[in-house]
Symmetry: C2
Subunit: 140 residues, 2 copies
């Protein structure tokens, strides 16, 4: 079993690219049952000032499940808590870069808190899409 300190030492920070593919979008729509016009109707989204159907912000929380479950150096983890704030819309086909950095290690309770942000390349500059925190607990 890995300790919180070992998790921090082996993964103090990490960067990973996620692509919002048709498959990701379709699966999220199916999972959530959310067919709000903003997410499925380009015309409605255009009329509200967006360049097309706005992707579901909670797709990013699904990507964070992948980060916790698949990218950490141990699979014996569980998400305890998360927060996220959305700063700019993203669209079908976008590549979003996730950057995480360890913020707090609580050895006594086996918890590591990572700060994260998702950014997208906009003409050579990184544009902030969302940011927040994810608290990871270590399982026995």
């Amino acid at each position: 079993m890995m300790t919180a300190t070992q998790l921090f030492q082996q993964c103090p920070e990490l960067t990973h690219d996620y692509v919002v593919t048709d498959r990701v979008y379709d699966a999220f729509r199916t999972c959530s049952g959310d067919i709000n016009a903003l997410h499925v109707d380009d015309g409605f989204a255009h009329d509200r000032g967006f360049s097309g159907r706005v992707m579901y912000g909670n797709i990013l929380n699904a990507f964070l499940s992948h980060f916790a479950g698949m990218l950490l150096p141990t699979d014996r983890v569980m998400i305890h808590a998360q927060d996220i704030s959305f700063h700019a819309p993203f669209y079908l086909g976008d590549t979003l870069q996730l950057q995480v950095r360890c913020e707090t290690v609580s050895e006594a309770v086996g918890v590591v808190i990572y700060k994260f942000k998702f950014t997208r390349d906009d003409d050579g500059k990184r544009r902030l899409i969302a940011r927040g925190h994810i608290q990871i607990g270590i399982l026995a």
Copy 2:
């Protein structure tokens, strides 16, 4: 266009049941790409003290997308921010009751913050599964 105060007046609180069906589970797994053993391997989950494959906590955030996009009295909304803490595991086939209650209305910026909790019936008692906040912005 609905104002934040009107949104609060028309939806001060709300209750809705969500079922974690195979379809929801499969779609979340596809969306996230998270195949951590805790979520896909009953034996692994049993060995960690759970009664079976633990469902992805972020399925609840997908349900919150449905709440924001489909259950509010206007479709002209967007999630600005969310936080969630997970208090107990949930399993395939569980019916989870979402209860939301308006906490803050910011008329000047067109924002309403709802407190939420997900609970499950455990032998006649409501067991807390997760709770948090969701900040909803109103679109023009």
